[in-house]
């Protein structure tokens, strides 16, 4: 498992992970009503939370989770390829430089301004992480209710196939192309400005 953590709380990776799994339960189970496993009544953890997942986490000064995304390699079982391949017009994109974004999560414990700041930091951190690691494309399954906001970050998104309705919502598959120009595209939308430019550190746990 790799945790790429950003923000002042980067020394507390255990705490960031624990509060992230708690916030994921609060968001995906309590708020959105997803039918996903809950561990101990507190943590939303599923089969993809294994040693191959990478977490990009924005944490506050005490190490508590503010925003996060789980990245899954597309060279193994992942959500688009395994659960929703029908959302792709062609075969779901896979490869060592294609990584899937899943469980994009903002803590509900904060007000809208803090949540938006944390979201912006997370998006900027995802772009940095991709450039650092040679990731060329982020793929992902998105609820269409969020599509306009995902596009409004300003990065280069492409649809992978026609959206479709499922019990869990109206879903579509997207590819986000990351290039050296991506940080500037995000900055034009106020994302990743110097003030909230995250400091990244990676560690294996």
């Amino acid at each position: 498992m790799i945790i790429v953590q950003s923000g002042p709380g980067e020394m507390h990776s255990g705490r960031a992970l624990r509060t992230m799994f708690e916030d994921r339960k609060s968001v995906f189970v309590d708020l959105l009503g997803w039918d996903v496993p809950v561990l101990d009544g507190r943590f939303e953890i599923d089969e993809f939370d294994d040693g191959h997942a990478t977490y990009v986490i924005v944490a506050d000064g005490s190490g508590d989770h503010l925003a996060s995304a789980r990245l899954l390699p597309t060279t193994r079982r992942h959500i688009l390829g395994s659960l929703f391949p029908q959302l792709c017009a062609d075969r779901p994109p896979t490869g060592p430089d294609i990584v899937e974004i899943t469980r994009f999560c903002l803590s509900r414990r904060h007000n809208s301004k803090e949540r938006r700041n944390a979201r912006n930091q997370l998006v900027a951190a995802l772009a940095c992480h991709a450039l650092d690691r040679g990731i060329r494309i982020y793929s992902g399954v998105a609820e269409l209710a969020w599509l306009q906001q995902i596009l409004a970050f300003g990065w280069d998104c492409r649809p992978l196939g026609p959206p479709a309705r499922f019990d869990c919502g109206f879903l579509g598959a997207l590819a986000i192309h990351i290039t050296p120009q991506t940080p500037a595209l995000l900055a034009a939308n106020g994302i990743g400005e110097p003030a909230d430019q995250p400091v990244l550190s990676a560690q294996a746990a």
Partner: protein, 244 residues
């Protein structure tokens, strides 16, 4: 047909102005068997010079629409503010109560030759609501299997228009200080100056000053409007006001 939408998405990335986008939307619309498109912010376009609006509706329709000041009251626009995924106009009745005036608007549109349609809402926090609609010529059927594609095309087209508008102008965002913002949240929750002073442990005069400066920044004279503007542009959220 997905390939056609994919090509559309790729091509509009490179466009730089609304006329080109209108052309691209016009040909996509025709190829999907529809007649009209309208991509717009839900505001009175004549009074908001920087609002987005491109369309290929019949010539008289846009003028009539503006004369009636329908930008923010049109039933399709109102319904679009209630949802975040696309809807067919045939669902309007189920989405919101239609007034006699609403029915008059819908009848007039039909007389102008605008038939069944599908609207993709476009909500970006901190910006005016908008949408991208597609419609058939009156009497022609709206193809159910094209609706997911229209959803994609509408969302990507709106983002392209947003990018073009940003190139035209970069509006300075209204910024409140944290303290002003807190005062606005409590004012939006119906607290008086004195109550806000007690809650924040500051003097009543300071609260009055914070709220006055916040009103000045938005250029509004009343605290109700201040709260509405701050909610609208995302400076405060509905949950800030409604929680507990």
């Amino acid at each position: 047909m997905f390939n056609r939408v994919e090509v559309f998405v790729r091509s509009i990335c490179r466009l730089t102005n609304e006329e080109q986008l209108a052309e691209a939307l016009d040909s996509l619309t025709a190829e999907l068997g529809l007649r009209y498109f309208a991509l717009t912010h839900h505001v009175d376009v004549r009074r908001s010079g920087d609002a987005i609006r491109i369309h290929n509706y019949p010539a008289g329709w846009a003028e009539w629409f503006d004369d009636q000041r329908l930008g923010s009251t049109d039933p399709v626009h109102r319904a679009s503010n209630l949802t975040s995924v696309g809807f067919a106009w045939s669902e309007l009745e189920r989405m919101l109560p239609l007034t006699a005036e609403d029915r008059r608007v819908l009848d007039t549109a039909r007389r102008e030759g605008i038939g069944d349609g599908f609207t993709v809402p476009a909500h970006v926090p901190g910006e005016a609501h908008g949408s991208c609609s597609f419609a058939c010529a009156a009497g022609e059927p709206l193809r159910e299997d094209h609706l997911p594609l229209l959803q994609l095309a509408g969302a990507f087209a709106f983002e392209a228009a947003r990018r073009m508008r940003r190139l035209r102008l970069a509006p300075p965002p209204v910024m409140l200080t944290d303290r002003q913002r807190e005062c606005v949240i409590w004012a939006a929750r119906g607290k008086s100056d004195w109550e806000i002073a007690q809650i924040l442990a500051i003097s009543r005069e300071t609260v009055i000053e914070h709220l006055k400066q916040a009103r000045d920044r938005y250029g509004v004279g009343r605290r109700t409007l201040l709260a509405v503007h701050a909610l609208f542009d995302g400076t405060i959220g509905f949950l800030d006001v409604l929680r507990r």
